[in-house]
């Protein structure tokens, strides 16, 4: 039992970070109805920013969110303006955006590979290798701090969506795009802002990733696969669903790793994906019309 609780603690302290990673992806899907395949490579880009800020200027990776969030927001806006606004009027926008983000992922991966090589990187602030002892349980400090910050950022996102004027407009666009237009929401502008916020969240996730995981450009394929499992489990476009899905699967994956073997741990995500698609394709908190 003690071992199980310990494993759950490990899983839960990673769950918050997965939730942050997935929240940006699900927000973009909710508003624009596109699956951004480039989400994880943009997380890696932010991880490089955080990594080099730590290596060169000794900037704490957690504090690097103050750089990665605005920088990646801007990157998101530029990507939107350069690519998405050009195809927004196309009839086959859905298919085109998947291909577009797929190509974008390959291009950014190539550029990062050319610039930084395929060496494994990881920032190593002191707390990344320290732990807090609570009774007989070990709580890794790095994971704990990252999850606390992630949950805080998700909370701020929720408050923004719930109470700000732009948040109302984004939620309205997520729920019914044509109704949003009818009440005067500039859907194109809201899509751009939501995309920027989604990529800013990828930026914050990258900061966390820089010291929680070892990373290299090609690592994004593994992450995007995991993130897609999380948001499908939670319900595509549902922020609450993404958070629940992230915590559930992070804990389940840790339990599988501990009791069955670490080789099987990543498979948990994809097995969950198959099961949810078979039995509840709309996900835990999703709606049938979202699929």
């Amino acid at each position: 039992m003690t071992q199980a609780i310990q494993v759950i603690i490990f899983g839960a302290t990673l769950g918050g970070v997965y939730a942050l990673m997935a929240s940006g992806l699900t927000l973009v899907f909710g508003v624009m109805r596109i699956v951004n395949i480039a989400h994880a490579i943009l997380m890696i880009l932010a991880a490089y920013i955080a990594f080099y800020a730590f290596q060169l200027y000794n900037l704490d990776p957690i504090l690097s969110v103050f750089i990665t969030i605005p920088v990646m927001f801007l990157v998101g806006i530029i990507i939107y303006k350069l690519f998405f606004s050009l195809i927004s009027a196309e009839d086959r926008k859905g298919e085109l955006t998947v291909l577009l983000t797929f190509s974008l992922a390959i291009i950014v991966e190539g550029v990062l590979g050319a610039q930084f090589g395929n060496t494994y990187r990881s920032a190593n602030p002191g707390y990344a290798s320290e732990a807090i002892l609570v009774g007989s349980f070990i709580i890794p400090k790095g994971q704990l701090y990252a999850t606390i910050l992630s949950v805080l950022l998700i909370g701020l996102l929720w408050l923004f969506l719930k109470y700000s004027r732009i948040g109302y407009a984004i939620r309205a666009t997520m729920q019914n795009q044509s109704a949003a237009q009818v009440v005067g929401v500039n859907v194109e502008r809201m899509s751009m802002i939501a995309f920027g916020i989604g990529i800013a969240l990828a930026g914050a996730s990258g900061s966390m990733m820089s010291f929680l995981f070892t990373f290299y450009p090609g690592k994004h394929w593994e992450f995007i696969a995991i993130l897609l499992s999380l948001i499908v489990l939670g319900g595509m476009g549902s922020l609450g669903g993404a958070v629940i899905g992230a915590f559930l699967l992070a804990i389940l994956s840790a339990l599988v790793g501990s009791y069955i073997g670490f080789t099987w741990s990543p498979i948990t995500f994809f097995l969950a994906l198959f099961i949810i698609l078979l039995f509840r394709p709309q996900g835990l908190l999703g709606k049938k019309e979202d699929i």
Partner: protein, 247 residues
Amino acid sequence: MSILVVDDISAGYGSGPDILKGLSLEVEEGKTYCIIGPNGAGKSTLLKAICGLLHPRQGSVTYKGEDIGKKRTDEILMKGISYVPQDRSLFPDMTVKENLRMGGYTMRDRKELENRIDEVLEMFPILGERSSQSSKTLSGGEQQMLAIGRTLVLNPTIIMLDEPSLGLAPKVAQYIFDTIDQLKDSGMTILLVEQNARKGLECSDWGCVLDLGINRFEGPADTILQDPRIQELYLGSQKRKSVEEVE
């Protein structure tokens, strides 16, 4: 004096064919217009072209002397033209009050917005009782009231209603028509697309018959109601022919 002039417009969706093919219509302030016609005649397309959801490929839409044909929906809303779509288009996970708040999205004065919402809730007491309920839990009639109420938050000069009685029980539909009468009495200009053509014409001043994307004929609503061609085509139960055949 016409407040809204639709002049020879053609419009369609995406790269598809024209649905409206040189349609013209003049709307006078304070009058109620009922637009009838068979499926595919372009009734809903006309309303969308007026409110900026669709931009005319040719021709012009002029409101109070200003060409609004290329303006965005939010700009047209702020000028005083509101639209209630056929599917009601509510925000299902938002409460009744949040939906009404979204109706005033283009309003900058928050206090004025809350006052307007209170006025709308007074007009539709049932919505007041359900103000913290999510809109997806409302009945069809209540959803239609909310869709109309949401539009009224902006206190528009022109309100365009697309099939407001669609799918409603007769008693509920009657309540909606009573509401339209109320709006009419308040001096609002109304453009009404209604599948229940007789009922729609009865509460209107003017009737327009659209067919194949053009305004085939128009006139005072009571004259149209008595017109044997219209009776045969839209108000009676005889086998339907095209307008041209009847002419």
